[in-house]
Structure formats: C-alpha cells, structure tokens
Subunit: 438 residues, 2 copies
C-alpha cells in the first residue's frame, strides 16, 4: 500500500479497498505513516465521504488497534452513547436504570471540551470518584455492580485516540464516517451486545439540522449492525438545555434527585429529561434482553420508582471510590452565587442551550483547551423552562462558582439573559424530546 | 488567525481572506504551523478550489517568502516555463533564441522526478556544468551572457519549496490553484517582465485532457497578469515524445544539433519541435520587447539560422563551467546499446510518450525517488515519428545506457514496442504541436 496513492484515490472520490484502509490506519497508529499524510486523508474523507463498507472497515481496524472486552455469552449487555449536549446528565439515570433491569452496562465515557460537558468530568465532582480505571478494574466493576462509567483506557482503540487528537487540530472533525468510526471503535470494543445512540440535534448540539442528525444516527446504527450488534438511535431535541442544571456538580445533584424520586416532575424540563432517560434505558433493555419495548419501558418505570436504579448508581459510585455524602456536603451551598431575574413579563419561548453552555464555560464549568482545570461548583441552574410564565423580576436562573468576583457574575448574568426569548402569548413546552427514531 | 478555523472554512468551500492566506503560509514557512495542518488545508484546497483572488494572494505570499530579483527597467526580460513532458529539451533552444533576440532570460529550472525529465538534470550531463548557482552568480550570468539556466536557490520562494515537498507526499499535487501558485511564485521572483507558458497536454503530460490543460494555462496567464507581468500560454501536444531523443545527454545533443543547423528538418518530429521552440521564443520576444508576433517570429528564424542562438547557448554553458567538447567526446558512442526493430509493417499511428518515458526511466534516465542517481547516457532515441512508414525489421528506436546487461536491454525493448501503434493506411503527422493559444 502506497499512502500517497491511497490519499489521491480518496481525493478523486473513489472508494478505498479494505486493505488500503487497514494498512493506512495501522501505519499511522504505529508511527510509520506521518501525521501530514493522515491529515490529508482525513480531509479527503471530509470532502469526498466514505461508503458504508469503507466506514465499517475503518471502524473495525480502529477497534482492533487495541483490546476488545468480552463478556460471558449469557449476560445481556448494553450501552448508551450521547453525541453531546448541554446539561446532559442522562448517563447517570439511563445507565443505572438499565443495570437495575438486569443488563450489564460497560460504559466508557469522555471528557468535555468547549461548550460540551463530559460525563467523566461530572463524575469527578464526586469526592474520591476514580473515573480512570484499569481495564481489569473496569471489567470487575461491571461484573460486581452491573455498571461502570470510566474513561477510555490506553488499551482501548489507541488508533482512535491518536486520530482524534490529529483531527481536532486539523479541522477534520466534521465528517460522518470519521465521527461514526471514532464513536463505534470505542463502543464496539466495550463488548456490549446492544448499543443505543442519543443523537442530539439543535442549538446546543454538534448537529444543528435534523437531516444531519438523522444521517449520523442512521450511520451509527448501520455501523453497529455491520459489526454484529443490536442497535437503535433516537434523534433528540437539544435546542434548550436538558433539565435545569448545567454544571458538573449540579448535574450530578439533579440526576440524584431524579433517581431518588425527589425531583418535581411537574416541572416540564425535569419531566422531559426523566422520560428521555427512561426511553433510552428501555431501548437498551429491550435490545439486550430481546423483549418488547413496552415491557422494557414498564420495567424501567418500576425500577426507577422503587429505588433500584438509585441503588445501582450508588453501588457503582462506591465501587469506584466516590463519596456521595461528602459530595452533598461540599456542594450544598456554593460560595459564589448570583440570581438572574427577568426584565420582561410573558412566556419563555426558548432557551438557547449553546448560550447557556457558554456562560457556564465562562464561569469555569468547562475547558477552553485540553488540560484546563474545571470548577465543579460552577454552572447555570435554570429556574424556568420553555412555556413557563414569568413576570418582571421573576427568577430565571442562578449562576454559581466556587470563587468569582461579583462583577464577573454580573457580566455572566448579562450574557445569560440573551439566551432567553419571550412571547406575549402562552407557549406549550414540547411533549417529548424525541424528534425521530432510527 | 486560527489555523483550524481557516482549514474548516476552506473545507466548507468558503473563500479565505487575504490575511488568513498570508498568515497561514508564513506560519507554515516559519515552522509555527505544523505539517499536519498545512496538508489538511492543501487537501481542502484540492477538493474545494480557490478563486482568482485567493490564488493571486497565495502566489504573492509564497513569492515574497524569499528574495525577488530585479532587473534594470530598460532591459527586456522574459522566461518560458513548461509544465513538463517527455523529450522536452525546448529550454535549450527557446531560451537561447530569445536571448539572441536581445531579451534577458533568467530561467530557474527544476529536477526530474518519475517519468518527467528535469532541465537541471539534462544540463548536468555536460561535464563541468554548474546548475546550482548562488543568486549573485545567477544575476551575473544573465547580465553577461543574456541567459542563465540554474536551479531554484534557497533564497527564492522558500515557502514554495517547503510546501511542494509536503504536497509531494500527501497526494495534494493535483490542484490548479496550488500548481499555479507554486509555478508563479518562482517565476515571478525571477523578475522577468514577460512569462510564456508551454502547458503540455496528452499521454506524456501531467494534464491529459485538453480542458484541464486550458484551465491551467488560463490560470497561469491570469496569475501572471495579476502580478503585473505580460504573459501568454500555448497548450501543446504531448501524446508522442518531443523530437527523437528522450534521455539527458541525448536531449542536449539533439538540441545542439538543432541550434547548429545540423538536424534534418525533413523529419517531422524534429521539424515540429523546432517550430514550437521558435513559436515560444517569438512569444517571449514579442511580449518582452512589445513588438508584433510576426516580427518576433522572423527575428527568431534569423537568429536560429545565423548561429546566434547556438552562440548564446555556448556562452551560457561556458559561463556556468560546462565543457561541450568533453560532452561530445563522452556521449559519442554509448557503451550499451540495443536496436528495437519493428515486427509489423505499416504506418506509425501513435507513440505513447508515457511508455517511452517509463522505458527511459527503467534504463536509468530518471529518478524513482528524490536523490536517486541518474545515468546521463540512458535513454530512448526514436528512429521514426508519427506518420512514418515502417516494414518488418525497420528500426523503431535505439535504447542506450552506460552499463546494462543485454537481458535488461532486451526486456526494455519488449516494453518499448508496446508504445507504438500502427495503421495499415497512411497517417499524417500533426501539422503543428500547438493545440490552443491563451
């Protein structure tokens, strides 16, 4: 295989042979093929695409670049992957719910960058929680508690880790085949028999247009099936943040409240995220255990209501060294706080998730570049959802941070107000966050 | 300027600002921007193109990355550039012809790679010839003899040298804006007031289709004019090799025979290459001296016939240390030789220039990779041209090399036979090599 010839072939829009894809990726992973050739190929793929067979081969070679976990055949296994949104704490509800229904859930999770939060960072808000496990610890935690949320180890899909770092700096992230192979190489290596994808769509998501989100969802499902897994995807609304809380500690706290039955389901944002968590967990259960979706849904509702899901989450946190009492004590009362009030009266017509995320980021809730420190206490907690009626001076949100000058909080508050749009007449909150089912 | 944002912009097909192009290229040249980002941008340009303004800016920043030569305002200056063909020794005839007509010709020439020969390599077949001059030596040779053919010095367009090396390994050579800016950044830095382009088209050329060659020719002329130069281009036929000789020493010898009036213009291949040399030189002269093309043509014919062009060539060779007597003695009789005979009778319908070049390459006339040694004696000298009548056993060509096993020569002969196509009925040789004028 001549790397230059392969690059030229893709540049001309022709499909690559399986052998070319395998040798190129393996050569890049081993360091034989330099970054400049890999980034040229990645850009050619961005511009000219890859067909389903090429994408499946690319996924396969990246998956096989590292360890592949195997689970006993008799164990139903599943995982859920979200393409990333704002206030997306569903992994803390959906994954424990599926585990409570008897499905083993090995879930490798990522860190946040820019406006997209990372499940791994949120978990680290829990004092003592070890998100970085060895492959053996990960296997053992899943076997013992039915569930583990941990970061991608060095052993899993090293080709993807190396390629992703290169794509990040070479403007070659936005490509369906590259996104699909990156996600699937890790998710398939987890060894779960069933995969459920929550493809976010809207202002706060990577995919803003419904047709792009659906294309990605279809490609993820097709790629999973090509690898012999059962799979489904939901394209879900990410115009407004999920739930009320955006911020590492506050999202864990909101998820705990839902798991513990302490959240008020009369509030539309909380009801919508709870329903979506249940729907995603039900898909995991029905695919993993090959039962009907209705049965799986009923089981999920029961396991949420009776506290089994909460128990699964607590067991996993304990197994990974986390202390939820210390968590509650530490984040009970943030030291810096600012209440954002409405300067209008009317109905909340929309809340721009991206703007909310930018304000949370500016308060310290995320990283501008890899390696930046995170303030777990920082974030935006909304007081209203779409459809809520507000009057002059009504609370819209609370800004929090461990340590912030009043001026900085006030500036952030000014920014946050711009995230809200109001209507004079009544506005209906969405009935469901599910836009389409794949 | 954020390199990643600029790459993404081009990936989406949007034009780059002038400042983005300048900062990207300068950052790459200084080493601030890594190869992986430059190759991603180069591929995005291959796939999405650049408009005339972007191409002019890219050319300008690459040209200004190094020294720009200036000539006295009163001196008419011109150069001719060929996009590369097989048996293309026109620079040894055209450039001296223009110089003999009173035009100063500063001509930076390249090395060959693959099947395309390089003017610099051919000149090095002349014992003692120094093709690598300092910028001062180059200036002085042009001032004293009216002409210099030398390789691109480190001072000229270093951005192009660095970018070209990267494009060569990343499959990003085939892009009109990148080709144009690479050629023009060097040619404009030579400081000549007029530029003539010989854009080769056909089996032995980089551009195989007429419309591609014309697009490149138009872009070269437009880019030269945007930089304030007078310019013209010919798209010329490169289906069959130019003239009879393909090989470093044999091409110099053929050019000398034409300059010295010793070539038989009754042979179509020699007549066609002589006419094309005159046409290109006439364009140089008419643009540089702002005279009519007819007058320039007449003057070129005269300067070729009276030996002035030959004298210019000899003066330049002497100024750069070359010894043409030693050249003639050394290559008078090649040590290894093989006559290829026809196994058919009929008329020569076509001679595939690329196949001829491949055979010459296999005999040692070129480089498979940069730095390979070249056998100056190696090559293919055709005995017939398109339209010639051959019988069984008629000579088709002679293969030469400094040192080759009879088996290797015979194998090459077998390959060469495949370059010829025959016709039972008479075939007209082309009346002219000029396909179109830009």
């Amino acid at each position: 295989m001549n790397p230059k010839i392969a690059i030229e072939k893709k540049r001309e829009g022709r499909p690559l042979d399986d052998a070319e894809i395998r040798e190129f990726v393996n050569g890049f992973t081993s360091g034989e093929i330099p970054d400049c050739q890999m980034s040229a190929l990645a850009m050619a793929i961005c511009c000219k695409g890859m067909d389903e067979r090429e994408t499946a081969t690319l996924t396969d070679v990246m998956m096989r670049s590292g360890e592949m976990i195997r689970w006993p055949d008799a164990t139903p296994t599943a995982d859920k992957h979200s393409t990333g949104g704002v206030g997306d704490k569903l992994s803390f509800i959906t994954q424990p719910l599926a585990a409570a229904c008897g499905v083993s859930v090995p879930s490798l999770v990522g860190r946040g960058l820019g406006t997209t939060g990372g499940t791994a960072d949120k978990l680290e808000a829990i004092p003592g929680f070890r998100v970085s496990l060895s492959l053996d610890e990960f296997r053992r935690t899943v076997a013992e508690t039915g569930l583990s949320l941990a970061t991608q180890t060095d052993e899993i899909a090293p080709a993807d880790r190396k390629l992703y770092a290169l794509r990040d700096v070479t403007g070659t992230v936005a490509s369906i085949p590259l996104i699909v192979s990156s996600i699937l190489s890790k998710k398939l290596a987890e060894g779960a028999g069933a995969l459920v994808f929550d493809v976010k769509c809207g202002a706060g998501a990577f995919m803003r247009r419904r047709e792009d989100a659906e294309e990605l969802a279809c490609a993820l499902v097709a790629g999973s099936k090509a690898a012999g897994r059962r799979a489904a995807a939901l394209v879900t609304d990410m115009d407004a943040p999920l739930g009320f809380a955006t911020g590492n500690a506050s999202e864990v706290a909101e998820a705990l409240a839902i798991l513990d039955g302490k959240a008020d389901l009369g509030d539309a944002p909380v009801r919508l995220e709870t329903e979506l968590s249940i729907e995603l967990a039900a898909l995991m259960v029905s695919l993993a255990k090959e039962t009907s979706l209705d049965d799986a849904r009923a089981m999920c509702r029961e396991k949420l209501a009776d506290g089994s899901a909460a128990a699964k989450f607590r067991a996993m946190v304990a197994a990974q060294g986390g202390d939820l009492d210390a968590f509650s004590a530490r984040f009970a009362e943030p030291s810096a706080k600012f209440r954002v009030q409405s300067m209008r009266s009317g109905y909340v017509a929309s809340i721009d998730a991206r703007k909310v995320a930018e304000v949370a980021l500016s308060l310290g809730a995320g990283r501008a570049k890899p390696g930046d420190a995170i303030d777990f206490a920082a974030g935006v907690t909304l007081a209203v959802g779409v459809g809520d009626r507000v009057g002059l001076g009504s609370p819209l949100a609370t800004l929090t941070a461990s340590d912030a000058e009043p001026d900085a909080l006030e500036e952030a508050a000014g920014e946050l107000v711009g995230a809200f749009a109001f209507s004079r007449g009544p506005v209906e909150p969405p009935a469901s966050l599910v836009i389409s089912r794949i």
